[in-house]
């Protein structure tokens, strides 16, 4: 799973990307009429805005700055890729997250622009016609489309607790069918990546992750919901490399999930200084003290929320004074204890046979950090980059 690029020099990588983009350029376009450059221009963005965005995205993916022109090239071939987005056992929060992307920034333009062939929340076709759209896309773009799945998948005896379409097919069968000929598969959100809220004990519907119903590799983009940046970034990575991104033990792209919330936290200085909020609404809360003692799970959670934030950089939970709840970790509903207390005070048993999530986070966390020890240059790039919002 861990992609071979690890030891490849950047020069080789650059060449790989160029070849990949050339290869994509040779594919027939889905939309002859408009180029993404035209769309960007129509929406009032200059070439400079676009290059700034490309630069920021390059850094987000931990690539050196000289890859920026390639990133810009890659975006231009994005319209070659049809996307199928399936809804399983979910709350539509991930779709909503996607709709929130941008103000408008270029991220959203890409999502308006790429060929979103099937997406039940926004598509106009209904019923039989909707089913036709799905089948036609799978048939027509066999081996070329990207499958994105939102939601956990009821399995076992309760497989038919989710059915979609006039034939009453189960969610499991539909996702297996769509996965079969997909060029790449992304599990969007914690439900699709790990089972999510419906899979929390006692898991009444035997909900499972997408990766448990298909033999193909699934890239997990967890979060409840994940930020649109992480979704778009994953797509960009696929465009560039034509392969999977470097993944951690939970198949999360390392460029987004390699660091802990704690590592990127704006309140980290408070933690190091021993300044803690003791209860919500106290003087420390007004001064932005560390939230560890009121339950922040940032030390056990791998994600880039503190850097990317949400809603075009408006805020994120720790800025709003509420600790991290660990929503991008597997089984976090069962392993992260009480939201407003440190883990040691958890009230009920966890799935890790009494070891507790503290032990889990330590073991797995250390393992992950070791595995991602490469990339000092990438860290420098992250530190240097400014927020691209305009």
């Amino acid at each position: 799973m861990n992609v071979h690029q690890k030891n490849t020099s950047y020069d080789t990588l650059y060449k790989t990307f160029e070849e990949r983009i050339d290869q994509l350029k040779r594919l027939p376009r889905l939309k002859e009429e408009s180029s993404i450059e035209a769309v960007i221009e129509e929406n009032g963005f200059s070439r400079r805005d676009f290059m700034k965005w490309a630069g920021a995205t390059t850094a987000m993916l931990s690539l050196p700055a000289n890859f920026t022109p390639l990133m810009a090239e890659a975006v231009k071939v994005a319209d070659r890729l049809p996307i199928i987005w399936l809804h399983m056992a979910e709350c539509t929060g991930c779709t909503e997250s996607l709709l929130r992307s941008a103000n408008p920034t270029i991220d959203s333009l890409i999502f308006n622009y790429i060929s979103l062939e099937y997406q039940e929340t926004i598509m106009t076709a209904v019923g039989w016609q909707a089913e036709q759209n799905l089948e036609n896309t799978i048939e027509k773009y066999k081996g070329r489309y990207i499958l994105m799945v939102e939601g956990g998948i009821p399995n076992g005896d309760t497989e038919y607790n989710l059915t979609v379409g006039p034939h009453g097919k189960s969610g499991k069968k539909i996702s297996q069918h769509a996965a079969k000929d997909a060029a790449a598969i992304f599990a969007i959100g914690t439900c699709s990546a790990f089972g999510g809220v419906q899979a929390a004990a006692p898991n009444p519907t035997n909900a499972v992750a997408l990766s448990e119903v298909t033999n193909k590799t699934v890239i997990n983009v967890p979060g409840c919901p994940p930020s649109e940046k992480n979704i778009v970034g994953t797509l960009m990575h696929y465009l560039l490399y034509g392969t999977l991104p470097a993944l951690d033990v939970f198949n999360r792209p390392k460029w987004a999930y390699r660091l802990r919330i704690h590592d990127l936290c704006e309140r980290r200085g408070r933690f190091d200084a021993g300044e803690f909020v003791e209860h919500f609404g106290d003087e420390g809360a007004k001064d932005g003290y560390c939230l560890y003692k009121v339950g922040c799970k940032g030390p056990y959670t791998f994600n880039n929320c503190g850097k990317q934030k949400f809603n075009q950089g408006t805020s994120w939970p720790i800025q709003a004074g509420f600790g991290c709840i660990g929503c991008s970790e597997p089984n976090f509903w069962d392993t992260m204890g009480t939201v407003n207390e440190p883990l040691r005070d958890r009230l009920y048993h966890t799935v890790f046979g009494g070891l507790g999530a503290d032990a889990t986070a330590d073991r797995i966390g250390i393992g992950l950090l070791t595995a991602t020890a490469v990339g000092i240059a990438a860290h420098a790039a992250i530190a240097a980059v400014k927020n691209p919002k305009e």
Partner: protein, 600 residues
Amino acid sequence: MNENNTTVETQNEGVRVDALPSGPKRVVVDPITRIEGHLRAEVIVGDDGIVQDAFVSSTLFRGLEIIAKGRDPRNVPLLMQRICGVCTYSHYLKSTMSMEDALGITIPYNAALVRSLMDAALFMHDHPVHFYQLHGLDWVDITSALKADPAKASKLAFKYSDNPVCTGENDLIKVQETVKKFASHPQGLGPFANAYWGHTTYRFTPEQNLIALSHYLKALEMQRKVAQMMAIFGGKNPHPQSLVVGGVTCIMDMLDPARMAEFMVKYKDMKDFINNAYYADVVMAAEMYADEPSVMQPIKVKNFIAGDGLLVDRNEYLLSKGMILDGDLSTVHEIDEDLITEEATHSWYQVDKPLHPYDGDSEPKHTGFVESESVGPDGRMVHSANIDPEGKYSWIKSPRYDGKPVEVGPLASILVSYAKGNKYVVPIVDEFLKKTGLSVSALYTVLGRTTARMLQAKVIANHGLKAFDNLIENLKVDEESCAKYTIDNDKEYKGRGIGEVPRGMLSHWTRIKNGVVSNYQATVPSTWNAGPIDANGIKGPYETNLIGLKIADLSQPLEIIRVVHSFDPCIACAVQVMDVRGNKISEYKVDPIYGGVCSV
């Protein structure tokens, strides 16, 4: 637009029965797209194209209340939030309120006002998104907008607003060009492909379609801005994370004047969009669709229940609570919660052992669909999996009030507030009726439901900042944001959170024992509206509203979609495990004062 229709008559004129056997036929619509959740509708249509019978089924079960049991009361509101990412704040708020009610906590006034502002942001987000992105294309034909004269459309916009939004001639030309590019390519329509474009029941002129289409695109941008409003106090949206049992955590944002100003400015921008685009487009729809039977057919379930909504001052709400029976606006009844029941005769749950709600253990019993035939996409009978009306057919249960079906939602809220003479609501309703020449009785329709949703958004847009002003004043003398409390593991608690949310009256009921949640229930708006037939054979609002509808083209049942969308279905919400047949939800009642949690 639908190339598959070429096998039979391609005209959209009249009922296409040429390829079909005579007699009643079944039409299955699944998935119903542009909603939250997984929903199917099935209708039986006679040779005259009239719907004789209708069934609505939810096809996903998750069982979140079962999962809530045994968890810490402070975790459950975040878990319940995950019922729905569209109603992302509603369940979080009501669940938190239920815990506070149970534990006897009075939250600080500042916290109540901030919660109210976040709620206002949700209403102002949810309703325009529903009208444009979800429901809009049932009213607006995109392909017709391409034929419009932009100059004419630009002038026409002034008929519906003194200050139109995004309808300058150049704006409209640009919209047309964008969509033209899209439409000119066979694969180019992406998410708009294979829809019912050109359907005979679309009523807007090309110019009107173009105005609405321009607003459709603008609404996409505005909804991002309103989502930021919630994120200012909530950390993010969807799934904000700043409410704790006892109050709110966002005190730093509340004390930051730049942050507060950011909220206010975004609020006013959205207020402008609601007044000059959303309002104007509904006025336009009222004018053009006033004689379209599929949206003017009188609704049959005329019992309405609404909760309090939007605290703007100590004990003052923008939206009123109460109940209307048989459409009689002369009396608003108090809600007697002892009369609320739920049952599962046609729902996929075991019902053979009635249990007390505290012990309520609704075991799922999924029987699925039956293999049969229905009208396919090419207008011929095809194989499909169908609902068995005699058996169980939905994950949604059937709530009843005194044995009667009830509609909840913005229509209920607006009617109750109007009948009560609510000073915020009455002038806005009267102004709309005067402008459109419609009578109050015209509100008891699909058009009325869609109108009421807009009116509710307008009431909040125009008056919700009262809560903001009161927050500013109160912060000068009081910086409390969260109450202290303890949970006694030896005590038993019970409580609820109740009130009006964008889709109607929502309540969460909880019981706490040994320091953990021992039972949990959510009574959700879409459950009231979308539930199946009850034990007495009585249907709920969705199903009754579909019966009698005339379908112009059985392979393109746009009329069904229009009716179902008018309820703003939220199906993940509607499927929540509740008590078994005949048990009273009111057993959860602790405090007879309605909504006592949020008033301080």
